[in-house]
């Protein structure tokens, strides 16, 4: 370019604070509205509408990050979500830090603070860059070869060092201060991608009367239209066409979602959308969610995600200033930013020529280098018109500059002398890869298109169409045509009649190219995957070392495994692997795309299921009292239960010992409301329970209770509980706290599918009854004055009655899970707190003491009563648990009965429930501790059992444990050994009934 031409070209360059590379009046940014942000503490002035990337480039800042492995300086490569290099940490106050934010996607707002990552001490000087010089030592697979020996080094030296170095960015440590929304949405048509194809599809379907939603991940709808302002559609400029289309979509009631990424395509047209609601706002509205996850169920889906430009693989292709041609076009047309003043363009596709022309017209000095020997005559003459130097059949063999490109070496592809061109920016275009990620989520087949050397969409089981550049249609005209057709087809498919209007495009820039050219090797590194620092050589090394499948190449080199998931690198890696294997690319295959399309915050996925609303907390009617009384709570399935009630600074052990003593010696009060309850009603109820439970139920009299054991058909214990017969055809069944839904589902299953002839109705009554248990030698004294309707003196153990307690209608049962005389009072939950208070007052003279689940556990363990799920684990039979007595010997059938006689269910070496006493009465075993017969045997030892329950027993003045031990009942009195955190301890096997083995205390 001549000197006068240069001066003229410089003229439009804005010298404003918004950046020396900003072009006055250009782009869709608001030149009147300045926005101030910081990057690594340096203040940068951008314009409203900028991304962080465009704001930085407007000031000539290309260096935005450091690479992961070699810590090489890196600049912006792309203008979209595929960006691998320009990843920054953004902050907006405590708990609001986001690592790995793509500068190309982050819109700026006043006060945005961004920091570069993966560098120390600074982006300009990074000590980690020493890795770049060590690169011969840390090529692909070095991990697997280097850190093998000596073996002992792994844990203490290698692993900690690798963990320190691993990871991109720093995870925030504070709790996320934001909240996240979630919505369901149903529509006729969901369009993914708001470019020309997507808009045409949406408009066509909406005009036909379809309910339409259209989502695009960028701040603005428009896609390629935003970068082609010179095109005219139906006689109006592209941007006017865009505005008119969006206005009409709005009029037609379409839901238009910018800043919304379709992250995954699931069964039957369920598409997940992550909408960024406030990340672009300086002051988010009060109460607004940061992001919103949409679960959209659409009758039809049009995928119009466009295409991703392919980098070229040549030495030095990662220097800051080297970027995709399409990104430069976006910077120019959308943001009014010139990416450089002396721009070299390395092209394998016509599209880069149009970008070169636009940059030249905007004032840059441009050189065009194309790997192809010939290009279209129109392109060549357009270059001549602009005095652009053109070199065909040439390539770039090296790039120069430390933190920013300053020159490139250009040489003929045929070899021979090269030359050095000064350049502050190098644009590359290796053609375009259709973005078929979501299509792949549908299990859609990809078809190799040899001509374009890329995969195109094949068939899919979903009601979905791919349109536009994503289907290989290049240029605005074909995209609009395909989009219109896809929208019309969607409308037709749901019974609407659509008119496919034609669009006429002037100044369109369609083009062709040569796919993934193999460029000559040079001395420098030629990167394939920028984010994971995978080079051409690494891929070839992987093939040389025996990797044949692309899946193995990927894992060995980590190509495509970074946060960009290979959006830029997969096709190049495939081409190189195919070349190295001398196999056609489709035979090497493509790795599978899986959701999410781009990194998605945990917050968006969790939505409202975080913190206090992570899960439902079920509370009993006594819970408020327990809270006031200072209870320590524990979660039991979804319930929050009072574990113990410390008084005056008691420890747990002290509180539990006091509660145990009070219950054994006087009377304890316990909230058992969480027990599962099922009302079994109907003329065949007895027969049904007889078939479900191991115990005989046909002869259980009205007003009596029976302990029941429920097995699976495999013979193992599933649940247990007490069953009371209320009247001829009505039973009150209790289950374990956690087992209630499972037991009801199991009963329903048998009733509906195996014994549908039985006339029985099942109702969950867990929350219809609050249950308060009174246990202890003085329980009857407390209760008797309050009971109306029955005589408590004539109410033996395992009785049930409908009566009134303290004036409240109740189902009263006498049973015991503590070994003491026990009563359970079931009342309407609305009156439970009243009953609790009455019982407390009535019991006060007797020293009544509320106790929690921990005391309940200790008291039942002293009696050898099992807790299903603690002392059993799904492999325990009734006999193993010492419950052989609960099996109805006369019964010919119940669920699980047949399995109890299978050969391995009757061996004497099954693990059986026993008690264990440590030699040292103060030693508390750990639950789960393994048991061996001889601790001096060589490792690995033969383990013959494990501890299931272990407590300090105030009653016995020592520790006790329950355990499952091979042939345990035959080992009574033997000494075995239980593992401790360090070493083992001798334990004596005994009966699991530690206290009152005859049961006289609860039955008398």
């Amino acid at each position: 370019m001549s000197a006068p031409a240069r001066a003229e070209a410089d003229a439009p360059l804005a010298r404003a604070a918004a950046g020396a590379f900003r072009l006055a009046g250009r782009g869709r940014v608001d030149h009147a509205s300045r926005v101030h942000v910081t990057f690594d503490g340096r203040s940068v002035t951008g314009l409203s509408g900028d991304t962080l990337a465009s704001a930085l480039l407007a000031h000539g800042i290309h260096l935005m990050g450091r690479s992961f492995k070699y810590h090489r300086p890196r600049g912006l490569v792309s203008a979209g979500s595929e960006e691998p290099n320009a990843l920054v940490m953004t902050r907006r106050g405590p708990g609001r830090a986001e690592p790995n934010t793509r500068a190309s996607m982050q819109e700026i707002y006043e006060g945005l603070a961004a920091e570069s990552q993966n560098r120390w001490p600074s982006l300009g000087f990074d000590a980690g860059a020493v890795n770049d010089h060590l690169s011969p030592l840390i090529a692909a697979g070095f991990y697997y070869k280097t850190f093998m020996w000596p073996r002992a080094f792994w844990r203490r030296i290698y692993e900690p060092a690798i963990r320190t170095a691993a990871g991109l960015g720093r995870a925030p440590t504070e709790l996320d201060a934001d909240h996240y929304g979630a919505r369901y949405h149903h529509c006729d048509l969901l369009v993914v991608g708001g470019g020309p194809a997507g808009l045409a599809a949406a408009l066509t379907a909406a005009r036909a009367g379809a309910s339409v939603m259209i989502a695009d991940e960028h701040a603005e709808m428009g896609g390629a239209l935003l970068s082609t302002p010179a095109a005219e559609i139906d006689g109006v400029p592209a941007w006017d066409f865009l505005a008119a289309t969006l206005a009409e979509l709005k009029r037609l009631g379409a839901v238009v979602l910018p800043r919304t990424t379709a992250i995954g395509y699931f069964h039957q047209n369920m598409v997940g959308l992550a909408e960024r609601v406030t990340d672009h706002l300086a002051t988010p509205p009060e109460g607004a969610p940061r992001e919103r996850l949409w679960r959209v169920r659409a009758r039809r889906v049009v995928l119009a995600q466009g295409a991703i430009e392919r980098p070229l693989v040549f030495p030095g292709n990662d220097r800051p200033g080297v970027m995709l041609a399409g990104a430069a076009a976006t910077m120019l047309h959308r943001f009014g930013v010139l990416v450089g003043r002396r721009v070299a363009v390395l092209a394998a596709h016509d599209s880069a020529w149009h970008t070169a022309f636009d940059l030249a017209d905007a004032g840059a000095e441009v050189s065009l280098i194309d790997v192809r020997p010939t290009v279209g005559a129109a392109l060549e003459s357009a270059a001549v018109t602009r005095s652009i130097a053109v070199r065909l059949a040439h390539t770039i063999t090296a790039t120069h500059g430390r933190l920013r490109l300053c020159a490139v070496d250009v040489a003929p592809l045929s070899g021979g002398a090269g030359e050095r061109l000064p350049a502050d920016c190098l644009l590359m275009s290796g053609g375009w890869t259709p973005s078929l990620h979501l299509f792949s989520h549908t299990r859609g087949s990809l078809v190799w298109d040899a001509g374009r050397e890329t995969f195109l969409p094949g068939t899919t089981p979903e009601a979905c169409t791919v349109a536009g550049a994503a289907a290989g249609a290049w240029g605005l005209g074909p995209a609009l045509t395909e989009g219109t057709a896809a929208g019309a087809a969607a409308a037709d498919a749901i019974g609407l009649s659509a008119t496919a209007s034609e669009h006429f495009v002037d100044h369109d820039t369609p083009g062709t190219g040569v796919p993934t050219p193999k460029l000559p090797k040079g001395r420098g590194k030629a990167f394939v995957d920028y984010q994971n620092d995978v080079t051409d050589k690494d891929i070839r090394l992987a093939v040389r070392e025996g990797m044949r499948s692309i899946e193995h190449v990927k894992r060995y080199t980590t190509n495509g495994m970074a946060t960009d998931q290979g959006k830029l690198s997969n096709i190049n890696a495939l081409s190189i692997a195919a070349d190295a294997l001398a196999t056609p690319a489709p035979a090497v295959g493509l790795t599978t795309f899986r959701p999410p399309f781009t990194p998605t915050t945990f917050g968006a996925l969790a939505g409202h299921h975080a913190g206090a609303t992570f899960e439902v907390t079920r509370k009993t009617p006594i819970d408020p009292w327990a809270e006031t009384a200072g209870a320590v709570f524990e979660p039991v399935s979804l319930w929050r239960r009072a574990r113990y009630f410390p008084q005056g600074g008691e420890t747990m052990d002290e509180a539990v010992a006091r509660e145990c003593r009070a219950t054994r010696e006087a009377v304890g009060l316990f909230d058992a409301s969480t027990l599962g309850k099922i009302e079994v009603v109907g003329p065949d109820s007895a027969q049904f329970l007889h078939l479900m439970y191991t115990n005989p139920f046909m002869k259980l009299a009205v007003g009596r209770c029976r302990y029941g054991v429920l097995l699976g058909e495999d013979g193992f214990i599933r649940d247990d509980g007490v069953i009371a017969r209320i009247d001829d055809t009505r039973y009150h069944v209790t289950t374990t706290t956690g087992g209630a839904p499972r037991v009801l589902a199991m009963m329903e299953d048998y009733l509906q599918t195996e014994w549908p002839h039985l006339k029985v109705w099942l109702t969950s009554t867990t929350e219809a009854w609050a249950t308060i248990a009174l246990n202890g030698p003085k329980a009857a004294e407390v209760l008797a004055p309050l009971v109306e309707g029955i005589d408590l003196a004539a109410f033996p153990h395992m009785s049930a009655a409908t009566c009134r307690v303290a004036g409240i209608a109740a189902r009263l049962m006498r049973m015991s899970f503590t070994g003491e005389r026990g009563y359970e009072v079931n009342v309407d939950p609305r009156r439970a707190a009243e009953l609790w208070d009455t019982l407390l007052a009535a019991g006060a003279p007797h020293g009544i003491t509320p106790y929690g689940t921990e005391t309940m556990h200790v008291l039942r363990a002293e009696k050898g009563f099992i807790i299903v799920g603690q002392d059993t684990d799904g492999t325990v039979t009734p006999d193993d648990a010492g419950l052989g007595w609960a099996i109805g010997k006369q019964k010919t059938d119940f669920v699980g009965r047949r399995s109890l006689s299978r050969p391995d269910m009757v061996t004497p070496w099954r693990r059986q429930l026993v008690g264990l006493l440590t030699e040292d009465p103060d030693l508390l075993l750990e639950e789960g501790a393994q048991i061996v017969a001889d601790p001096s045997q060589p490792v690995p030892m033969r383990m013959i059992g494990h501890v299931t329950s272990s407590y300090r027993s105030a009653t016995l003045g020592r520790t006790i444990a329950l355990a499952l031990v091979e042939g345990g009942r035959g080992r009574q009195g033997d000494t075995l050994h239980a593992s401790l955190a360090e070493g083992t301890a001798p334990v004596r096997v005994c009966s699991p009934l530690f206290y009152d083995p005859d049961g006289t205390r609860m039955t008398q």
Binding site: H267, E748, Q752
Partner: protein, 100 residues
Amino acid sequence: MLLIHCPYCDKTLPEAEFTYAGEAHIARPADPSAVGDEAWRDFLFVRTNARGPHYERWRHSHGCGRFFNAVRDTVSDRILLTYKAGEPRPDLASLAGEKA
């Protein structure tokens, strides 16, 4: 997320309302005590593990609560048909015919 047709409610609803309940058409023997060890083992543990159409049970657990049967293609993960518990096993050939 699958859409599943409940044959009792006669409504097509999201998978989240349903619970999978294992292979279908495995009837509990009328008199288990008369069944030999190997046959009982097969009843308990041996399943078809089909590649392709699979007869299976689902429960409309967050709806009507009924158990019903479905034919699901385990390759495409599509439910081809649902029918009420107790109805005979549908003929796959006729299913293919319906689709064509």
